[in-house]
């Protein structure tokens, strides 16, 4: 187990260093340096700039240095916990990323807090009796909600609850301070999209367990149905959903971009998109690495957790 963990962690470090190197190489092109200049000084100013002034500007920004040298500087900075400085917002990337991640973390917490019990409940109820009315109803709901892309769910919820009923604000920018009501629609959007998938997986796992021999034995033995479900079926049926739920972290990091942009919630996804559009290389680097770190970590947790929970599988 330790060996597996160590090799996976090593692999993660390898992947992250490869990715950061590639990103540095990509964003070293003249086009991107120009893009930063245009975004900071304005298009007119840049076209009026003489070549010498442009070089001086690059020098000032520290973009003149060859990229491998910049990369080494950056990597040694990261080792010391310094992620560089944002070109756009002129503050340290570490601080910026920390505040944004905290906001997205809060969003993610509520998404998982609602999605896990909801999808497990629906999935287990549906899987208990395959082909029953509740099974077909759950399947229908989950196909419907997963077919609505986040952007469509966001629009439908906004139109109903924010524009129609006026219960909730349509915008989560929260310029006038913290407001929990603004968080409801983004969380609901993400929950609705994700819940169907997890519920279907839970249903499949539950249905498989309910068809197995030992459940039949337990029922024939005369155990109360409740007890069969709670004590015998659930324990095995919830192993597969566990790994899937952990892997949803990876999905959430993609889903969060569109939801945060639509609701203008200043979180991690919006930071990444803004930085990418601006060409803010250090922010892109740090944000991508965080995203990859979370994604790979969730894969490792799900793998290791699966072997831990399911004694039938042991990696050697």
């Amino acid at each position: 187990m330790l060996k597996l963990l160590a090799s996976r962690l090593l692999q993660m470090i390898f992947i992250m260093s490869v990715i950061s190197l590639i990103l540095f190489a990509i964003f070293d092109s003249d086009k991107f340096k120009k893009q930063i200049a245009v975004n900071e000084l304005g298009g007119f100013a840049v076209s009026a700039l003489s070549d010498q002034d442009y070089q001086a500007w690059l020098q000032k920004k520290g973009l003149q240095v060859p990229f491998y040298e910049r990369y080494l500087n950056w990597a040694s900075g990261v080792a010391r916990g310094d992620f560089g400085k944002s070109f756009e917002k002129n503050e340290s990337v570490a601080g910026l990323l920390a505040t944004r991640l905290a906001k997205t973390g809060l969003l993610a917490f509520w998404v998982f807090a609602l999605m896990i019990p909801l999808s497990l409940l629906f999935g287990v109820i549906a899987g208990m009796r395959e082909g029953s009315f509740q099974d077909r109803l759950t399947s229908f709901i989950s196909v419907l909600t997963t077919s609505l892309p986040e952007i469509a769910t966001a629009i439908i919820l906004t139109v109903i609850f924010a524009l129609g009923l006026r219960w909730l604000p349509s915008n989560a920018a929260m310029v006038n301070g913290w407001d929990w009501r603004a968080l409801v629609l983004p969380v609901l959007t993400l929950v609705l999209y994700d819940f169907g998938y997890v519920a279907r997986m839970t249903r499949a796992s539950m249905a498989e367990v309910m068809g197995s021999q030992y459940i039949r034995t337990a029922v024939l033995k005369g155990l109360p149905y409740r007890r069969v479900i709670m004590r015998h079926a659930l324990r095995n049926a919830l192993i597969a959903p566990f790994t899937i739920i952990v892997l949803q972290l990876n999905w959430l990091l993609s889903g969060v971009v569109v939801v945060e942009v639509f609701f203008q919630y200043a979180g991690f996804g919006k930071l990444l998109l803004d930085a990418a559009l601006y060409g803010d290389i250090y922010v892109i680097q740090a944000a991508t690495l965080v995203a990859v770190f979370v994604a790979v970590l969730s894969q490792i947790i799900s793998d290791v957790g699966y072997t831990f929970l399911n004694p039938r599988i042991r990696f050697t």
Binding site: I19, L144, V159, L163, L253, V258, A276
Partner: protein
């Protein structure tokens, strides 16, 4: 061909003859090539050619729909899915011939649903520039469908190719390809999209590249697994003994025998790609104005339509894209159900 010759033909009903694979492929090409030409290379076609290029695609689409419905009639889910998908396909191929006004012509800004203004009846209202929503919405499906399906096809071609190589040849090939796929799969999809499209610039062709990077690794894994599964069958050994080239074995022996799960996954992936294109266009990284498509309509409306009165500007494209994705998902569900049954 005389009547006597016709009588000599084997007595196969037309319905069955048309259902054979070759004619389906021919019909698919007849539907797809004009549509792709029209959407991707419309500006190079010239006016007369552009006016007629989609004509053969209309009967082909209708014929394909009838074939799909008759051959999948055992699964109502698949039929509903096919109906949704083919509705949008039909709209896509027939949009130039439908009685719609120019989707890019500004007439009456903020005309409401059902309003009659300036000699035009706005069935679904008009957007903030006064362009007819119904027309924009129906025209919008062309770009989403064409780019979505093309991107999925390219991703499948590349993913399946590498999957076959990794699974069939094994060894270093497998190691190398799997490593690259692991690196690509460790990105959250949207992060990968943003990075690639930001690097290449927003356009339809670049979406194809981005989707390929994002989907091909997952496809490669599926195909690799299926290849490992079928590799040890007798007919593969027979082909090897005959001395067939490995490439030939991969494409003509392995791939056709792994098609069942691949088709189901392709339907699901078409849905994902449609979501991706709409979302990317909404984020400003995808297709560019002025031609309509659903993501663009949403993007343009979010700034002005955040009022109950104008919410149709957001709802119409959102519901349209959802119905298309629902169609793909139901199709995948129905096909999976049918493949499990037999």
């Amino acid at each position: 061909m005389t009547a006597a010759d016709l009588a000599l033909q084997p007595a196969l009903p037309l319905r069955l003859r048309i259902r054979q694979a070759d004619s389906i492929v021919a019909l698919l090409l007849l539907m797809w090539i004009p549509l792709t030409l029209y959407v991707m290379f419309g500006s190079y076609l010239g006016d007369t050619l552009k006016n007629i290029v989609l004509l053969p695609a209309i009967p082909a689409t209708i014929a394909l729909y009838l074939i799909a419905v008759t051959s999948w009639r055992e699964s109502p889910v698949a039929v509903i899915g096919a109906t949704l998908v083919f509705f949008w396909l039909f709209v896509a191929v027939s949009a130039p011939y439908l009685p719609l006004i120019d989707p890019n012509r500004p007439i009456a800004p903020f005309a409401e649903v059902g309003a009659f203004k300036k000699d035009h009846w706005f069935l679904l209202g008009a957007d903030f520039k006064g362009r007819d929503m119904l027309s924009r919405n129906l025209w919008g499906c062309q770009r989403v469908l064409v780019w979505g399906v093309s991107a999925t096809l390219v991703a499948y071609a590349i993913g399946a190719f590498f999957g076959l190589i990794a699974g069939y040849l094994g060894g270093w090939w497998d190691q190398g390809i799997s490593l690259i796929c692991n690196i690509l799969l460790s990105f959250p999809v949207m992060v990968l999209f943003i990075l690639i499209l930001n690097y290449l610039g927003p356009s339809g062709f670049n979406i194809v590249i981005a989707v390929t990077f994002a989907s091909a690794p997952a496809i490669m894994r599926i195909v690799r697994g299926l290849t490992l599964d079928t590799k040890s069958r007798d007919y593969i050994f027979a082909a090897q003994t005959r001395g067939e080239h490995p490439l030939r074995i991969m494409i003509f022996e392995l791939l056709p025998n792994a098609r069942g799960p691949i088709i189901v996954d392709a339907c699901l992936r078409l849905g994902y790609t449609t979501v991706a294109i709409t979302t990317l266009t909404f984020l400003g990284l995808g297709l560019q104005p002025p031609d309509p498509d659903w993501g663009l309509m949403i993007k343009e409306s979010t700034k002005v339509a955040m009022v109950w009165k104008f919410s149709y500007m957001l709802l119409v494209p959102a519901l349209s894209v959802s119905s298309l994705i629902l169609g793909f998902n139901l199709l995948a569900d129905g096909l999976r159900e049918m493949s499990l049954r037999d």
